[in-house]
Symmetry: C2
Subunit: 397 residues, 2 copies
């Protein structure tokens, strides 16, 4: 296995804790496009790595697994009708072991690191990734450290710490902390699995694989991805590329990078036709999980969108909250960041950028239970009555 | 399909909203023991009802499905070692669409009711079941009403109401509300899917089916079930009985009813060798999800335990919280009620009631995210530092 810079093409031999090209600072990616077979088995006795092992030849064995992946692809005729397009598919990543897509990447990166002899793990995150790394570290029986900014909402700490991870609140700027963690991890043998680590990105390939299988190898025309660091979109793109190289699909979906208007550095660069993103000043959105002002894979995402005839689109705060509510009212309660994908689709339809015959898939990245305090903004109402008055209410439901 | 009283044997023709025998007030159950084949398909394109349709011959089609079930069976060598027994299996129901086992029962009961022409649904619950019925009602595009006691913790309301269900806070005693909802539902055409509804119980059969498949048809010796109304334990028992009748397994696991010591009416009756449970006064436990003082299927559970050579066991509050923490520190963060099963296993081992060679399975009923305020009792700790001091902390992790 080798890492390759997707910008300058520089190749690196397998180096565990290298994220970015020394030369141009762009993200590294596992260089090979893997091809092989799907190893079909009993769904109930198989895990993702049994099924897709050909596409992860560098993983010799699965030392830690919480049975991530194999999540539903929910076909919503209700949203297809609402949007006036042919098909809306919702990849429900909330049914993962820690209730977000992060588990796929954590699993791949941690197993690789264990194979390389690491026994201490870490990440820099305040949300889904923190919980995921803490859980897999616990399951592997390894020491795990989670670095968070000192301004974190205190109620977010306990669901990380319960896994037994050491949680350190660090004063200082988030971007610096990201870089500093990698530097210190390298020095002290702590494997930091941050948001766009090349092997974390590899884990996200499996979302594309599963969508191919779930659509009977006729994937959607557009794949809409809530985008923070850019790692998820990169992984999904590689997954479709590999299944095309393997001859399983005839075409790849166009990729759409969806961001919240309150923190949309990639969309801004896209709209300005720039090659490089610029740090977003003063991020403000309820979609915390994707509020990254300076996405480390942002430039690479721009490159992919150009190559794959994709789009970048930002959605307003009220549209995010409305879509969160609409999704729940179709049975799927997701965190605000996850609603961004479908909200982006609605906007694209309005702007005439999605044709009527389009088939789209949105990634529902994480559970609504992750962040319930936002529900105070949803203007929900309740009724109260004595048991003797109940019949009156039920009669006129 | 017919309903049968498991106590007096009285049979009832298919009657949608009958829960209990008119004659002896004991719960009704779908009378037939179904046999058939497992319809194996691609795991990613199949749902539970595709696979197990032979065992639900009364469901003509699946009008609403959120792709519940097919949850992992996690084999914990760490807990097997800790308990000193052969095998500990953890059925992780937190990976369901609303992150609890309730979805299996909601799906079966709601589809049946839709087939019968109902278009309004309800339940009486403050927790997992409320969320599940609200979600499936939303997914089915049906009016849904959730009745809760007026003393509900207010933060529990929004994650129910977000699905669009009408939430009514009712003054009055919970047991009365349960009965009154069924009576009024019958009268006004609202299908109430309460905790031990015969078709909800049918849905829980699938947990047993999956465990059979996941153990290669060599199910565990003991199946430990957190028990509230008793519906979950009843369903699991029927599932194993059907797979035995179908010739898939040679023996059924012994069933263990696990309750919190702060609300243990079934355990108390079991220990007193009584045939009937008595209402538990002043329930006090953090395991809210199973704190039912007068379980409507309690007597039936006692009957099953006697027939199947099972046990009933209550666990202390500190053991519940400690086990919640231990599970998280193995990668699985569950609500306190879910920790009760493994805590019961630990107690049974200490008391010499589980042999060394025992293979056990515990049901992890719901996600830890359902009830995070309990984490304030877990004495979790955090560190704080400036970024310049970070290296000092990481060096000595």
């Amino acid at each position: 296995m080798q890492l390759i810079c997707q910008n300058c093409g520089k190749r690196y031999a397998d180096q565990e804790l290298l994220y970015h090209c020394n030369h141009c600072q762009e993200p590294l990616e596992v260089g090979e496009v893997f091809v092989g077979s799907i190893r079909v088995g009993n769904p109930l006795r198989q895990n993702m790595m049994d099924r897709y092992s050909d596409f992860f030849p560098y993983l010799q064995k699965t030392a830690v697994c919480l049975q991530e992946g194999f999540t539903p692809l929910f076909k919503s005729s209700s949203f297809a009708q609402k949007l006036g397009i042919q098909e809306v598919l919702l990849k429900n990543e909330t049914q993962n072991p820690t209730w977000s897509f992060k588990d796929r990447g954590t699993m791949v990166a941690m197993n690789y690191a264990i194979q390389k002899g690491f026994h201490q793990f870490g990440t820099v995150s305040t949300g889904n990734m923190a919980v995921s790394v803490a859980a897999y570290g616990a399951a592997a029986g390894k020491k795990t450290v989670i670095l968070v900014g000192n301004d974190i909402a205190k109620e977010k700490l306990a669901p990380i710490a319960i896994y037994g991870a050491q949680v350190i609140l660090v004063d200082g700027e988030y971007g610096n902390l990201y870089q500093e963690s990698i530097r210190l991890g390298w020095k002290h043998g702590i494997y930091f699995i941050n948001s766009d680590h090349p092997l974390r990105v590899e884990g996200y390939k499996t979302i594309a694989y599963e969508i191919c299988e779930q659509t009977n190898f006729n994937p959607p025309d557009y794949m809409i991805v809530p985008t923070s660091s850019g790692g998820l979109l990169r992984g999904i793109e590689k997954g479709f590329a590999e299944f095309m190289a393997a001859g399983f699909i005839a075409k790849k979906p166009k990729l759409v990078c969806a961001q919240a208007a309150g923190c949309a550095p990639i969309v801004k660069a896209w709209e300005n036709d720039a090659e490089k993103i610029v740090c977003w000043q003063n991020p403000q959105t309820e979609a915390h999980a994707i509020a990254n002002p300076m996405p480390p894979s942002g430039n690479r995402v721009l490159q992919i969108l150009r190559q794959e005839q994709g789009f970048a689109v930002a959605v307003a705060e009220d549209a995010i909250l409305q879509t969160q509510k609409d999704l729940a009212q179709n049975g799927l309660f997701v965190q605000p960041a996850s609603a961004v994908a479908l909200a982006a689709a609605i906007k694209l339809v309005k702007e005439g950028l999605l044709p009527r015959q389009a088939r789209i898939a949105c990634v529902l990245t994480g559970s609504g239970l992750k962040y319930t305090s936002v529900l105070s903004k949803q203007q929900l109402s309740y009724q109260t009555c004595g048991i003797e008055k109940l019949e009156g209410l039920l009669k006129n439901l």
